[in-house]
Amino acid sequence: MKVGLFVPCYIDQFYPQVAVATLELLERLGCEVAYPREQTCCGQPMANAGCAEDAEATHRHTAACFREFDYAVGPSGSCVLHLREHVEQTATVRYYELCQFLVDVLQVDRLDASFSCKVGLHASCHGLRGLRLASSSERREPPFDHVAHLLGMIDGLELVGLSRPDECCGFGGIFAVQEEAVSVRMGADRLDDHLQHGVEVVTGTDMSCLMHLDGLIRRRDMPLRVLHVAEILNGSAEASCGIPPSKPLRSARHVRKYRTL
């Protein structure tokens, strides 16, 4: 089974540790993984902004990068959904979000990792309602959750329930800046839900949502931190919690100014 590692652009540039964790995890589970170095971006930023035609060349490029693989697996439900909907038709490769690949293809039933923290799971929308990584709260169907299933295999991890288990965090790509006020409010409300339930670490399948939430956490100096689910499943995150070290901000003035938002 030849697996191509698909790394979304913002993970490549800003969160390389997530891609490393994904690579190591797949290898530990026995996959032969290669990283096509020429890959760039899935094309979603342009398409979601209404500029799908500006993404066409990028789509073709991405398709070419993964031509020789059986599976392209990446740590993002959102980018993978985009590739499935706009690129996959033209290729033989199947695009998979990491957790879906672990559960549906590799059928993983144990993972050798521990993480002694209270974890809140952020169900990113495109993975949830697009890839159906879990049952959504709107639909009347037997409940299932691939990501929670995998997290359940981690030693010491306590998965915390939330009041609104699958509400959007308000990232939404271009939405995050175009509708800044709504986006920020949605993110803040999500974080409040996690805090009220005693969450220490917020995890999820999409670093983009977590980047948005982390931006709020650090600006408001909240006692939370974010980790991509690959980091936890791979055991690459520091394995115990306690009070997470609050990151010193570059300017305390900003904390004062924004904490009350």
């Binding site: 652009c9 993970i11 490549d12 540039q13 800003f14 390389p16 540790q17 891609a19 490393v20 690579l23 990283y35 170095r37 890959q39 760039t40 971006c41 094309g43 930023p45 342009m46 398409a47 979601n48 902004a49 209404g50 500029c51 500006d54 060349a57 990028t58 490029h61 929308c125 309602r129 709260s137 709107e138 639909r139 009347r140 609104r164 509400e167 959007c168 308000g170 271009i174 939405f175 800046v177 175009q178 509708e179 800044e180 006020a181 709504v182 986006s183 920020v184 409010r185 949605m186 409300d189 948005h212 982390d214 931006g215 709020l216 650090r218 901000l249 570059r250 300017s251 900003h254 924004y258």
Partner: protein
């Protein structure tokens, strides 16, 4: 608000939303009270065996009806006419308003009571009739409240959901003479009951919307909780029912499917209090039906968007929408508002409503909650493409996206741009990095700069041999 009376100033959803959010406490309340309706809907839909199958059926019945809409319209007209109902056809809002006006004028009507109708809202019937001297009274409590405030409804089912009881207390004190400071909902609703009972008894004509029209029997179904549609219709000599042509369903048995879904999706009730079936006018009375197109046939020809004509106006997509709950109905500047409004309005006037398809995080909750399975979030995505193609986003944004497209089609460009972005994060002074240009950074930190990209790490660690 209706299209006709407003200039085509583009709606700035994000600005309106920001102002609603700035209200703080009220936004919190708005979000939580609508979420409670969503939770009630979850609970009550969970008690129906085969809920998802019911949604499938409803969707298929609507798609079938739309696919043969010409035949069903003719069948409906024949059955209704045979029942003694008078059927009128209107190609657009102006024609609809004119038909209603003529019916009222010829009969010497002065006082009109109305029950909730999104169609007449869409057509701007109230201002049209008021300008011609008629006394038009909306009788649904929420509709009456927004009418007295001179506002459009902000929610399909709960038109006054954006207004707090204290504001209603002031309004009723001014308009109904209730004691100042009395804000108990029971008391306020009682005052309106008194006021409207007299108006029902004195009305010359009643105008209603239509929830479903049955082609086989020529019947109309109108659903309310308050009983206001029935009070209006049964007391006035003339009943005018206004409906979009998409309201048709083939047979009475199909009512069972839609009624099981409608109230559960709308308010979390198993059924609304009154589900009234009109087939023939009462002896000595008149029943008129106005069948309205107003862009619906045009919409029917749009393959990507026609599914929105399946809508049964339950409002579930509003209640579930994380954006709507925090931005308020008026931020959309359209009736209906919310996700369904955001896919209907651009079809009527793209110039004015180009911002609405972007007023969504594309989370997809609307599509999953919709009782007739309209692919709302996918349509939002597609309307974005149309908006851009027709030149409705700023040149700056378009250029930015063309740049990203140009960069990401070549690995070398992409790597260079990535290095530049990471350098910027490292070396640019905070004042510059978080300048006015950076909407992200107004309330959020940017990601921290890693030592190297994954690509660089991979080249160094895995490809060094």
């Amino acid at each position: 608000m209706h299209d006709a009376a407003q200039n085509a100033v583009p709606v700035d959803h994000s600005d309106r939303a920001a102002r609603f959010i700035a209200k703080g406490e009220q936004t919190t309340w708005h979000d939580s009270v609508l979420w409670r309706i969503r939770e009630k809907r979850d609970a009550v839909s969970g008690s129906v065996e085969g809920w998802e199958r019911l949604r499938d059926l409803a969707s298929q019945i609507k798609e079938h009806t739309l696919s043969k809409l010409d035949e069903y319209l003719i069948e409906f007209e024949e059955s209704a006419t045979a029942n003694g109902v008078q059927v009128h056809w209107a190609v657009d809002a102006e024609a609809h308003n004119r038909i209603v006006y003529d019916l009222l004028k010829v009969r010497g009507v002065r006082r009109v009571v109305k029950s909730k109708s999104m169609l007449t809202e869409e057509c701007g019937l109230n201002p049209y009739l008021e300008a011609r001297g008629f006394d038009v009274v909306d009788t649904d409590l929420g509709e009456r409240i927004v009418q007295l405030r001179g506002e459009p409804p902000s929610h399909l089912v709960a038109p006054a959901i954006h207004i707090r009881r204290e504001e209603i207390s002031v309004l009723f004190h001014e308009k109904l003479g209730t004691p100042a400071g009395s804000s108990d909902p029971q008391f306020l609703a009682g005052a309106m009951r008194q006021d409207l009972r007299a108006r029902f008894l004195a009305a010359d004509a009643a105008i209603t919307g239509v929830n479903f029209a049955v082609a086989a029997t020529g019947g109309l179904v109108v659903v309310t909780n308050e009983g206001n549609a029935d009070l209006g219709v049964h007391l006035a000599p003339v009943h005018i029912a206004c409906m979009g042509i998409e309201k048709l369903i083939p047979k009475p048995e199909h009512l069972g499917v839609f009624l099981r879904l409608l109230a559960r999706s709308a308010t979390g009730q198993p059924l609304s209090i009154y589900t009234s079936h009109f087939h023939r006018p009462a002896p000595g009375r008149e029943l008129h039906i106005v069948l309205v197109d107003n862009g619906r046939t045009r919409h029917l020809s749009r393959e990507d968007f026609r599914a929105s004509l399946k809508c049964i106006r339950c409002g579930a997509c509003l209640n579930t929408c994380p954006v709507y709950r925090r931005s308020g109905g008026h931020s959309y500047g359209a009736t209906p508002s919310g996700p369904i409004g955001a896919i209907l309005a651009p079809g009527r006037d793209m110039e004015k409503y180009a911002a609405l398809p972007f007023a969504s995080s594309l989370c997809g909750s609307c599509s999953d909650v919709c009782p007739v399975k309209i692919d709302i979030h996918a349509q939002l995505y597609r309307w974005r493409q149309v908006a851009v193609r027709e030149g409705h986003i700023s040149g700056k944004k378009r250029l930015g996206m063309q740049m990203v497209g140009w960069i990401t089609r070549r690995p070398a460009r992409y790597r260079l741009a990535g290095r530049l972005a990471r350098s910027l994060l490292r070396y640019a002074p905070r004042r510059l990095l978080y300048g006015r240009w950076n909407a992200w950074g107004r309330a959020r930190e940017l990601p921290e700069r890693p030592a190297r990209s994954f690509g660089e790490w991979y080249a160094a660690e895995r490809e060094k041999e």
